[in-house]
């Protein structure tokens, strides 16, 4: 058994702060001296950092930690910074804690963290990087062969002007006001001006002489220029070859002023969120709950994928935290939490509300109280030590609070007491309660299953039940309870709780009087609850699961519990093949109808031809017969009529010729008939007869007659023929990149069959670099390229957009094989629990790939990669399924 700790392992204040400095030694010292429990928030931050370092310099990083005060956000951020430093000591990291909503001041503090020699070095290595890039660009792909005369290399040095020109372009891409910034960078490496240029970059005032010499004008003093400056700094560091991490802490102070969002600042942050990752930097935003909710919707969405909501500690996590600290203080550390007892741990949670800072403070004072006697720290010790610190009200105090609030709101309520303790308020009285406000002690995880189920059970009896819990509810249980009850408030003594309570009472006061309909809970649900009760499912996950299911059941009436994914998958697959068959049948039917029309028209024309020829003959005969007897005019009229009829015959003949129907008698029963017939038919792209057009699609050389075939495809009205043409075109040897104009045009004109040109394997070419035009394609088209070229995924790489197709690209491994989505796609979904993707993003991607929705990629049944599209689609459906069906509560806030 481990020794009793000789010193207090806990920090008295429980706060974690970070110095605003980029000096790496601070980070390593801190991580050496401060124990860290790897809680979900820390894990999230580490995951983001690792992904960033792995992807550097190809990809940037973006992450956000948010949660209540004292929940360990700064600690997590710092731990991440220490990790980054350990993993890559070259990394440049800056940490900034917003103190107000003044970005200019923040910028000045931030940039000043980077010492002048570092910036000067970075400026130089930035130029060297560009020079290297330019040299590599001109050198082509072949590397100097071994043994070749070395002095040849560098025969053409890249001109410095050229390097600066390239730099100007890059700077202009990330920052407005680019010339000033470029000058500052240039003068950073000129001996006499380096200091002044550095000061200017830091936003400090510099002398007029220096400003004129460097050509930068006045001091940086507006938020926009500061934003540019920060973006430039990112480019400077990352292009200088070093990872760059920016941590912005307490963003709420920047985003909100007196609780109200400041739109200008939100916009500013949004630009940083866009540009820093784009410039291969990593941005970590740290904010409170209010800051998170104060963000504009689109900013939140942008952050969502990398956001980590830090929740109050679960008992398990609290145990981890305690053991991390105790382990750091006791030599020969054990995993245990001795001297704390389990009861003591729960008591800590009860009084701290799961807030890690408070928990550490309470642990500190409990230890102080117990240490002189080397006594175990149990519930009593904690309770004694907590009296000074605890913020959360006792049950009796909570009852008083509620009663006061109700009275202020002018509401009459009856108290319900059990064992001399007030357990609930019922409005207007207990016989026919319209509203029930239940009070409860803290709700933990495992040992309070009974408590929780009881709460749920009694809740369902009333139309409106609010549950007020003192101190602490473990986050999973809270989620589950919120799924069942309309209102669950946690009385943690904060101002937030007072506001919420006030709001609750106001809502109750404004409710219509006849609301209550008791006895809503059906028997099955009751039985379920009984089962929960009797079984006393101690196991945490099981409880959560049951509660979640129950919540869904209450919400969604009689809906059956969801079948497992395999069943859903089979269902989807069946539906897909069904709609596919329907579509194929429709295409075939359309073709056949068109063909029948043409054949019928030919019959009609033949009929008219016969009639016209007959009429002409008859008229001529009559004219000849009557020529001798009757007058000239009559014969003339008859002859004219004959001529007219002959003309009609000619016309019919011409139309027939134009129609050029081949094999009019042939029977078309199946596509096999069609293929056979088409091979015997003279091809014609413009024929009215679809058979001849089909023959054209089969017989045209896709390389020689590429433009004609493409044109025919774009003009073709029948899907079946278009598909044949598209397939034919896809046999062309043209590189993918050269087909892009047709593809784009076809998409514009609503001819999806052009995608066949894209969904094919790119032949190996000399150049290893993927063509630019492919990179510029819309992401959903690049999905096809990636599917068709699984071995050369970089063909499909391109700018990261926020479009649904991006997730598909990630899953296919375009963003690196180690991307979590890519790994999940290769493996099994069950392992992907940590992927936090908002369901709406998943849904959008599934929609994009869907074979069931209009214009989904999966509806292009004739694509050669269609089975792969299906796989991808089912993968996203599966992810969605797991998020929606299995983990219903993880995204509720």
């Amino acid at each position: 058994m481990a020794d009793y700790p000789r010193r207090n392992p806990f920090p008295a204040r429980g706060t974690s702060s970070a110095e605003e400095t980029s000096l790496p030694s601070f980070l390593s010292d801190w991580s050496r001296l401060t124990p860290t429990a790897i809680l979900p928030g820390v894990r999230g931050a580490l995951r983001a950092a690792r992904a960033y370092l792995d992807g550097f310099p190809r990809d940037g990083g973006l992450s956000c930690l948010y949660g209540a005060h004292g929940i360990g956000k700064t600690h997590a951020a710092r731990h991440m910074m220490a990790f980054v430093h350990g993993a890559n000591p070259e990394a440049v990291q800056v940490y900034l804690r917003f103190q107000e909503d003044d970005f200019v001041a923040a910028y000045r503090r931030l940039v000043s963290q980077l010492p002048q020699p570092l910036l000067a070095d970075l400026s130089l290595s930035y130029l060297n990087t560009i020079e290297g890039d330019l040299a590599a660009r001109t050198a082509g792909d072949l590397v100097a062969a071994e043994g070749e005369p070395a002095e040849l290399i560098g025969a053409d040095q890249v001109e410095s002007g050229e390097v600066l020109e390239e730099q100007a372009k890059e700077i202009a891409a990330v920052a407005g006001d680019a010339p000033r910034f470029q000058r500052a960078l240039s003068y950073l490496i000129r001996p006499g001006y380096s200091e002044a240029a550095y000061d200017w970059l830091c936003g400090k005032p510099i002398s007029a002489d220096a400003a004129a010499a460097i050509g930068v004008g006045g001091q940086i003093d507006d938020p926009l220029t500061c934003r540019y400056g920060l973006q430039l700094l990112t480019t400077l560091v990352t292009r200088g070859g070093r990872p760059f991490v920016v941590v912005l802490d307490q963003c709420e102070k920047f985003l909100l002023e007196d609780g109200e969002p400041v739109p200008a600042n939100a916009g500013l942050l949004q630009s940083l969120v866009e540009v820093i990752p784009q410039a291969s930097g990593m941005l970590l935003l740290v904010t409170s709950e209010s800051g998170w909710h104060g963000m504009p919707q689109d900013l939140r969405q942008r952050l969502d994928a990398g956001a980590c909501h830090m929740l109050p500690l679960t008992p398990d996590e609290a145990r981890q935290v305690l053991s991390a600290y105790i382990g750091a203080a006791v030599k020969g550390a054990s995993d245990g939490i001795r001297p704390f007892t389990e009861k003591g741990l729960l008591e800590l949670l009860r009084h701290s509300g799961g807030n890690i800072r408070l928990l550490l403070q309470l642990a500190w004072s409990s230890f102080e109280a117990a240490a002189p006697r080397s006594a175990p720290i149990d519930a009593a010790v904690v309770a004694g030590a907590s009296s000074r610190h605890s913020r959360s009200p006792s049950l009796a105090r909570l009852a008083m609070l509620v009663e006061n609030e109700l009275r202020t709101g002018g509401l009459a309520a009856e108290r319900v007491e059990e064992n001399g303790r007030i357990m609930s308020f019922q409005l207007p009285d207990r016989r026919e309660p319209r509203v029930v406000i239940k009070l409860s002690e803290a709700v933990f995880f495992d040992d309070e299953a009974l408590n929780a189920t009881e709460l749920v059970g009694s809740a369902a009896r009333s139309a409106f039940t609010a549950l007020l819990v003192t101190g602490y509810v473990s986050p999973p249980v809270l989620d589950a309870l919120r799924g069942v009850l309309p209102e669950v408030l946690v009385a943690d003594g904060s101002a937030g709780f007072a506001r919420e309570l006030h709001g609750l009472v106001e809502r109750i006061a404004s409710m219509p009087a006849e609301a209550g309909r008791p006895g809503e809970l059906d028997l099955a649900t009751r039985a379920r609850l009984e089962e929960l009760y009797v079984g006393r499912l101690g196991e945490a996950a099981a409880l959560r699961h049951e509660l979640a299911k129950l919540a869904e059941r209450l919400e969604q009436d009689q809906r059956r519990p969801p079948p497992g994914w395999p069943a859903r998958r089979a269902d989807l697959v069946e539906r897909i093949s069904q709609v596919r068959a329907e579509r194929a049948a429709a295409d075939w039917e359309e073709f056949r109808r068109s063909r029948t029309d043409v054949v019928n028209r030919r019959e009609t024309l033949l009929g008219w031809l016969a009639v016209a020829i007959g009429a002409a003959g008859v008229l001529i005969a009559i004219a000849l017969a009557t020529a001798s007897v009757s007058s000239i005019p009559l014969s003339a009229a008859l002859l004219a009529g004959a001529l007219g009829a002959a003309g009609g015959a000619m016309l019919a003949q011409n139309r027939l010729a134009a129609a050029g129907v081949s094999h009019p008698k042939a029977i078309l029963q199946s596509e096999r008939d069609l293929d056979r017939l088409a091979r015997e038919t003279v091809p014609d792209a413009r024929a009215v007869d679809p058979l001849r057009r089909y023959a054209y699609a089969l017989k045209t050389d896709p390389d020689e007659a590429y433009p004609e075939l493409a044109e025919a495809l774009l003009c073709e009205s029948l899907p079946l023929v278009r598909q044949a043409m598209g397939r034919r075109l896809a046999a062309s040897a043209r590189p993918l990149a050269d087909c892009v104009p047709e593809v784009l045009r076809g998409r514009r004109e609503g001819v999806p069959e052009v995608l066949l040109l894209l969904a094919r394997r790119q032949r190996r070419t000399e150049s290893d670099r993927p063509p630019r035009v492919l990179r510029d394609l819309p992401p959903e088209l690049r999905v096809l390229v990636a599917l068709a070229n699984p071995d050369t995924l970089d063909l499909a790489d391109g700018a990261v957009t926020q479009q649904p197709a991006d997730l598909a690209l990630e899953a296919l491994g375009v963003r690196g094989p180690q991307h979590p989505l890519a790994r999940a796609f290769r493996g099994v979904v069950a392992q992907t629990a940590p992927i936090e993707i908002p369901p709406n993003a998943l849904r959008a991607t599934a929609h994009l790939l869907s074979p069931l929705e209009r214009d989904g990629l999966g509806t292009y049944d004739w694509l050669p990669v269609i089975t792969k599209v299906d796989d991808l689609y089912l993968f996203f459906e599966e992810l969605l399924y797991y998020q929606e069906e299995i983990r219903p509560s993880s995204h509720k806030s």
Partner: protein, 326 residues
């Protein structure tokens, strides 16, 4: 074999005739003959501009733009030399003020002060007696800071005074600004030297970045009204062939197969510096491949078309010799 082992004497050479930096026609007479009328240079127009300025006792302003290694500095020096020659009379001497790119800042006024004060130093070097009044003006100039600048007409008067002092001592002077970072300097210098007999050459990088003067069409027109503009471009294969021939100073004939060189270079564009560098390397290759001792002319020292093509191709493929357009 080490490059030092290339035996140039076999060609009757002292060294590689193509391995040269910028020409300085002002200080070196032989360099005067070496500048060729290539890459957009129309010597007659330049000479005419110089002579007109000298005849009217007006300043001659030249603006030379071009990318790196396009021969800007050589041409600037050549222009100075032309000016000097045009002024030539018995006992005439010529001094220059060169502002190099690393001396340049965006502060045009400070730059101009440096120029004028350097002219004062040049007077001292030439042992020209500076009139007291002029000395006082110089003292005032150096004492006043940028926050309290002299008016540009004051500067003009000072420059005129200095020019007159030089002229009285039968000394001429020229100014060359390399890598002009901003247009301001050009306009200020043109104003300051407006009534001085001198030559001022502005060399501007033809790149698009924040540390070079980006001249608009209007700027160029404005300059052309009072000065002469030369835009240095890339050489054609014919011009490179001519360069190879004219710079050859070994035993004649030049060892290049002229047609072959032209052919091998066709479709490529090089600045004069890049072309020279290639010629230098080609000559060196030939010598290093040569193991006999017979001097030029001999078949093995000749550079035939196939050899040239192969070498140029090799250079581009293996060594990043492709140039900026390769």
């Amino acid at each position: 074999m080490h490059p030092a082992d290339a035996r140039y004497e076999l060609y009757g050479l002292q060294g590689n005739p193509y391995a040269v930096g910028p020409l300085d026609a002002v200080s070196c007479d032989s360099d005067r003959e070496m500048l060729l009328e290539l890459a957009g240079i129309r010597m007659s127009a330049i000479e005419e501009a110089v002579e007109r300025a000298v005849a009217r006792k007006r300043p001659a302003f030249f603006l030379i733009t071009g990318v790196g290694k396009s021969g800007r500095t050589s041409l600037a020096n050549h222009v100075m030399r032309l000016y000097r020659d045009a002024c030539d009379k018995p006992g005439y001497t010529f001094v220059t003020h060169y502002a190099e790119p690393e001396d340049m800042t965006h502060d045009a006024y400070a730059q101009m002060c440096s120029t004028l004060l350097d002219l004062r130093n040049k007077m001292n070097e030439c042992a020209i007696k500076i009139p007291d009044e002029l000395r006082a003006r110089f003292t005032e100039l150096s004492r006043r800071s940028s926050t309290d600048p002299m008016n540009e007409y004051d500067l003009q008067e000072l420059a005129g005074f200095a020019g007159a002092t030089f002229a009285a001592a039968n000394v001429g002077f020229g100014v060359r600004y390399e890598g002009v970072p901003a247009g301001k300097l050009i306009w200020l210098a043109m104003k300051v030297f407006e009534s001085t007999s001198t030559v001022v050459v502005f060399v501007v990088d033809a790149y698009d970045h924040a540390n070079t003067a980006r001249l608009t069409m209007a700027d160029r027109e404005r300059f052309a009204a009072r000065g002469h503009i030369v835009d240095l471009g890339a050489l054609t294969p014919e011009q490179i062939t001519e360069l190879a021939r004219r710079r050859w100073n070994g035993r004649p004939p030049p060892p290049f197969h002229e047609e072959g060189l032209r052919g091998a270079l066709s479709g490529r564009t090089y600045t004069v510096g890049q072309a020279m560098r290639r010629l230098e390397l080609l000559l060196e290759f030939r010598l290093r491949e040569y193991e006999k001792d017979d001097p030029w002319p001999t078949a093995d020292l000749h550079m035939p078309e196939n050899w040239l093509r192969l070498r140029i191709w090799q250079g581009e493929r293996w060594n990043g010799l492709g140039g900026t357009h390769g």
